[in-house]
Subunit: 206 residues, 3 copies
Amino acid sequence: MDLAIYSFDLIGVAVFAISGALAAAEKRLDILGFILFGTITGVGGGTARDVLLDTDHIFWIANTSYLWVCIGASSLTWFMAGKVHSLHRVFLWADALGLALFSVLGTIKALEWQAPLIVAVVMGMMTASFGSLIRDVLLGRPPVLLEPNIYVTAALLGAGSYSVLQALPVTESVAMPVAMAGAFLLRALAILYDLRLPKYGNAEVD
Amino acid sequence: MDLAIYSFDLIGVAVFAISGALAAAEKRLDILGFILFGTITGVGGGTARDVLLDTDHIFWIANTSYLWVCIGASSLTWFMAGKVHSLHRVFLWADALGLALFSVLGTIKALEWQAPLIVAVVMGMMTASFGSLIRDVLLGRPPVLLEPNIYVTAALLGAGSYSVLQALPVTESVAMPVAMAGAFLLRALAILYDLRLPKYGNAEVD
Amino acid sequence: MDLAIYSFDLIGVAVFAISGALAAAEKRLDILGFILFGTITGVGGGTARDVLLDTDHIFWIANTSYLWVCIGASSLTWFMAGKVHSLHRVFLWADALGLALFSVLGTIKALEWQAPLIVAVVMGMMTASFGSLIRDVLLGRPPVLLEPNIYVTAALLGAGSYSVLQALPVTESVAMPVAMAGAFLLRALAILYDLRLPKYGNAEVD
């Protein structure tokens, strides 16, 4: 695998694991709870992607580094969390970074497995949001798909813009970081300025 | 694939997508939320079935029409929902139609993949209810498996009656619509007359 | 398959099915609800394991006895539940036995499929807890991963101790029951004496 993709993949897993461990901190779980939610959040999205693409092996079965990164990042969070001023702020930004990286990395992996373009975009969005989704459902938090701020839209931007860029005469070393930066920027603006799409609201539901 | 099966499959995906988009309307999500929940509900059941049967490709990866139908039906729901008198009524009937179609179509696909009869019935019930189940869990609604009205029983009738009919000297062009009509009728009666099976209730849980 | 493993597997499925049916009793569902939750809880963990390991066939598709055991155990629970003094006590102990058996059986199956050791431990923990997890999420109960008493730790002990023992010059006929007994004992002590690991709690979440 390309080294840049592998590095981003490990970083994405690590920041999502931190977000999962911080969600466990919010619920005051024990250290095994930190590791469990860190691992579920870190590898959840890529696992769903690999199961649906029917790849030869789920990525963390083929290469156990991903599990060790989850265990390491979650344990570190357990020991460091007390020293951080605003856990929720770290949570939000770790989650945003994971979202941006995985929306593009999920699309890349789906294209490698010959998925049609629309499927690759769906896989990018799923890789970016599925880990957080399980984390939130299991912890009884409102799931990210219901987030009023732009969240899945940012994943769509990352997956969609990469899909367009890779079809143009642009090298991967440009397309990948540009799409990731776009997704991260949109999510960052949504967090900072509370951006949202218009809601459905001109009909009563009886 | 047989044309009748393919047509029913697309209709089933479309009506489930409408039910998912209407559930998103109830929660006043944005248009991307409509499309997400429409797509998850539309293809969720068949995805679980294909993963468990380990088919060559998940159906919506092999044929992207299903995704486009979900996106189209959900977007249409976004624009039309305001013009409908009772969204909840449309939701109930779209869901009932999807339930009836998929309980039989899921069974047919499992039999095609050489599943034993009891497995085929389970797959039919799962195809019919899994999409609605994820929709309800993610939206924080009581999941369909807890529905006091007959719901899964209707799926069991569709899957079971098709399994029996296909073993008899009856052509598929009779067995399929008869089983679908039976499942739909039972669910329709349950909605209209509030039918339910007797509950468990003669023991206290301490 | 080895007869001892097969027997323990059937017992594990049966006791988890009973725990699922008893959870359905708590919610006063009908008999189909008992069977559904019994089956989901009974085969859920092994299904997740087999999907991730990408085994040739999901175990209950390859051998339908597992489904019949679920249906039988759940139906029996429906008829017997009224005669039992404390349903919750039976629920807790059935669940504990299933946890102990599956934490080891899941690890054994993963090792059979050449999974690395850390993956095998993860698979053992997942096989032991995933069925209960779906049961609880669908029924709106606090999921087992949030259980303040030692729960996943017991699964980790079963999976981990078997992994160590099988690498030592110990026969399987010793390693398997010893690891199961260890996991069951730890969970039993946790139930009886309310054992817990220290919680996270020295930082405020804003």
